[in-house]
């Protein structure tokens, strides 16, 4: 069976390719790319060949499938939250063709037998490639190293105690030194649990107003600084998970400049949502009623008030509306917590200048029961595989990031962290491909998620940009209901700057 993806806007960051054209796939591999301006006859002939299925991709982006460095699949042990089958189905709906399963399962992935079991289940029931991240320490307790060499033999591609940090620096130093022998990265969840004891959200003006105990940016940054120093000492490849603060980005940038082998990822929600989302509808009351403004004007405070409104105004013109949520909505509770606009700006800057290599979802599905409770008691995490693309495309629509860069951070960036050849549309590559319509508006309806985790604060929000088709190893693993039914003759607006004219 051959597939011809026709008239798509092809973006392949690994080849620095952006063009209008066709992709021919045969036997699970990419065979050839055709530029729309060339080889008209050949394309015509292919289009009429009986063994070729045509996929009309006009108006859509065709790119290599995405790789997620940070996915919680919850199996084994927490199948009420997610399974490998449902998690990987969520992945294909988000355009991901490779996900890295985090080891905080029950039991944790700290031994070869469990890792083999996960890979076996993934092989049988998974919809995409599943790579396994092993635990740094036994039981993720931060005390004794797991049998890392054996874990690598069993197929682990990296190590992490994600969900917890390795608190004891001596243990982490040993883990790093040991892992450097195995040539795999140590992925660090950076959190000083002394500095954020009892935390519920980011420490700042909003936590002060809501009376929720804060997680200061410094609790993340102090740990990043420590881990960078240890990476420098041991020479290991350190990967910083879900960096969320401006200070964290600066530390990583600085370390890279002095030659430390460090890479980093950022989650879509940290790039687009702030701690104001915890206020939810209370944000309304910051805007004064006409009567109050009149009252304040008479008492001479109007001028000062106006200044405050200016300072609070969002600089990046996101169209999402946190006021759709009630206050203290536990779907906004995530670790690290949603930070501030200043942090978002620094994270975007980090993506642009290469300090941050990858966008990773930190997909963390939970049950309703885990979330339907008091804010401070709620489980941390966002079920994010299915909204990741829509969220990060918002950065492209707002001109904060170009589309090529967005795709790069979802494809070649994460592949490089894993030390692999970048996923690409080069002839001969495995046909892991995503087709998405970058302009298509849709409303997030968590009830329709493939993931078991419906915990996503974007419920009811409009996103722009949706996955239409995902192909894994040359098979179509997901096709949007409406894909191919409605003609979409328009070239995506954002492509104008990327594609060569004519």
């Amino acid at each position: 069976m051959r597939y011809l993806i026709k008239n798509g806007s092809i973006i392949d960051p690994a080849q620095r390719v952006a063009m209008l054209g066709d992709v021919l796939i045969e036997n699970g591999k990419v065979v050839q790319l055709f530029d729309i301006a060339e080889s008209a006859l050949e394309r015509e002939a292919l289009g009429q060949a009986p063994d070729v299925e045509i996929i009309h991709a006009r108006g859509c982006i065709v790119s290599p499938g995405f790789t997620d460095l940070h996915t919680h699949l919850r199996e084994p042990g927490q199948e009420q939250k997610e399974t490998i089958a449902t998690g990987t189905m969520a992945a294909v709906r988000g355009g991901f063709t490779c996900v890295c399963a985090m080891p905080n399962t029950e039991p944790p992935l700290d031994n070869a037998a469990t890792v083999r079991q996960v890979r076996q289940i993934a092989w049988q029931e998974g919809h995409v490639q599943v790579e396994v991240v092993g635990a740094i320490t036994q039981g993720r307790q931060g005390r004794n190293l797991s049998e890392m060499a054996e874990l690598v033999e069993a197929g682990c591609v990296a190590f992490s105690d994600d969900g917890s940090s390795v608190a004891d620096p001596a243990i982490l130093r040993n883990a790093m030194a040991y892992a450097s022998m195995l040539k795999v990265p140590i992925m660090c969840h950076c959190e000083d649990t002394q500095l954020n004891k009892g935390w519920a959200m980011h420490e700042g003006a909003i936590s002060t107003r809501l009376g929720l105990p804060g997680y200061p940016a410094a609790a993340e940054e102090a740990h990043i600084a420590r881990d960078l120093t240890l990476a420098e000492l041991t020479g290991v490849h350190l990967h910083i998970c879900h960096v969320s603060t401006a200070g964290g980005v600066a530390l990583i940038r600085n370390a890279r400049q002095r030659g430390v082998h460090v890479t980093a990822e950022v989650a879509p929600h940290h790039l687009t949502l702030t701690d104001r989302w915890v206020l939810g509808s209370l944000a309304n009351y910051n805007e004064l009623s006409a009567a109050e403004i009149a009252h304040q004007a008479s008492s001479g405070q109007a001028k000062r008030r106006k200044k405050k409104v200016d300072r609070d105004s969002v600089r990046i013109p996101f169209w999402l509306n946190p006021k759709l949520l009630p206050p203290y909505d536990t779907r906004t509770r995530v670790n690290p917590p949603l930070r501030t606009e200043e942090d978002i700006e620094a994270l975007i800057e980090g993506l642009c200048d290469g300090t941050i290599d990858a966008i990773a979802t930190d997909h963390a599905p939970h049950t309703l029961v885990d979330k339907e409770c008091e804010y401070g008691f709620a489980a941390c995490g966002i079920s994010g595989l299915e909204t990741a693309l829509g969220l990060v495309l918002m950065l492209a629509h707002c001109n904060a990031l170009d589309l090529m860069n967005v795709v790069a951070k979802l494809t070649e960036g994460p592949a490089a962290v894993l030390g692999r050849n970048p996923s690409s549309l080069r002839p001969g590559s495995r046909a892991d491909i995503v087709i998405f319509d970058p302009d298509r508006p849709w409303i997030v309806e968590t009830a329709h998620f493939a993931s078991k985790g419906k915990n996503n604060p974007l419920q009811g929000q409009q996103l722009k940009g949706q996955v239409m088709l995902t192909m894994s190893g040359g098979s179509i693993v997901y096709r949007h209901d409406e894909f191919g039914k409605v003609a979409n003759p328009v070239q995506p607006s954002k492509l104008n700057d990327i594609l060569p004219k004519d």
Partner: protein
């Protein structure tokens, strides 16, 4: 989850003073005066809430607030159920959501909730068809305490506009302070917060929400020209968590003493939400002096809570 209609939601519950307008606060304070009259009668009871069930749901220890709410509800002829986390199915692991649904199925009309977690009353309000009154949630809010403070000051001084109010003590953990910040600033008072940095946090954290509030680490300077001092309870455990060197040092620099009262206006008033640590944040001489309004606060608490119950039961009726 549906979008909340802010206006309807706000009329049905008392969760904090952030969504009260100045006019609404004044309305409550005026109703409180009428309620005070009822409490001065021989028979301290009116039939306003006859046939209604008010549940006092207390997940944290409380003496005065719980008794005050109970007296208020009884003075309005409501049936009152007291529910404490101890001895209930919460100890068997029942969730807050289940507890609320159960109370609803049992026919509760109003829930008065005290909880250690900020936001718990908002959560209950979203899942309960009746009215919810916040009797204190974590560090977040204690609106009935703030209203009784406003009432007590206004009763004594005739108004609140332009008064200088100094709130001193453990502001970081204080729900009383946060609700009072809304109430006092809406009523036009000027507020200064005074505490060591470990119990206060950076000024911009406060000023982002309450832009005109001032902060000070020096109580002696802060007290200059003060009309009202609000002392907050200092939990003795704070020293153990490293927030303070010692209670002795705290007392030396931040306790309300008779000497310090002399730095404020001549007739300065002193409030304290209770329970007090006498000799730590406030000296016994101050409590017993003419400056103290602490007993009046407790008395007024019942009338304020009656006024709020009355407001909610009326809001529930079609106009």
């Amino acid at each position: 989850m549906s979008t909340i209609s802010a206006a309807g939601f706000h009329n049905r519950h008392v969760l904090d003073l952030d969504d009260f307008s100045r006019e609404e606060i004044e309305e409550v304070l005026e109703t409180t005066e009428s309620m005070k009259e009822i409490l001065a009668r021989e028979i301290k009871q009116v039939p306003t809430l006859r046939g209604k069930t008010v549940v006092n749901m207390f997940f944290e220890e409380s003496t005065r607030t719980r008794i005050s709410f109970e007296l208020a509800a009884r003075a309005l002829s409501a049936n009152v159920i007291n529910f404490t986390a101890k001895g209930s199915s919460v100890e068997k692991g029942e969730s807050l959501l289940d507890t609320v649904r159960t109370l609803q199925a049992l026919g509760a009309d109003m829930i008065v909730i005290r909880h250690s977690q900020a936001g718990a009353p908002h959560f209950v309000a979203r899942n309960f068809k009746g009215s919810v009154i916040n009797a204190g949630d974590g560090r977040h809010a204690h609106p009935t305490q703030a209203l009784l403070d406003l009432f007590t000051i206004r009763e004594k001084l005739g108004g609140l506009t332009k008064l200088k109010v100094v709130i001193v003590g453990d502001l970081l953990h204080s729900r009383v302070a946060r609700s009072n910040l809304w109430g006092l600033t809406k009523m036009g008072a000027k507020v200064t917060l005074c505490a060591p940095p470990t119990l206060l946090g950076p000024s911009q954290f406060w000023q982002a929400t309450w832009p005109n509030v001032e902060l000070s680490y020096n109580l002696d300077t802060a007290l200059k020209g003060a009309d009202v001092i609000m002392a907050l309870r200092l939990q003795k455990e704070r020293q153990l968590t490293g927030l303070l060197p010692s209670l002795r040092e705290y007392q030396t620099f931040f306790a309300i003493t008779m000497e310090r009262l002399a730095l404020a206006k001549k007739d300065v008033l002193v409030l304290h939400p209770g329970p007090m640590n006498e000799g730590v944040e406030i000296m016994p001489e101050v409590i017993n002096s003419k400056h103290s309004l602490i007993e009046a606060q407790v008395t007024n608490g019942v009338a304020v809570r009656m006024a709020l119950l009355y407001r909610l039961v009326n809001a529930g009726q079609p106009a």
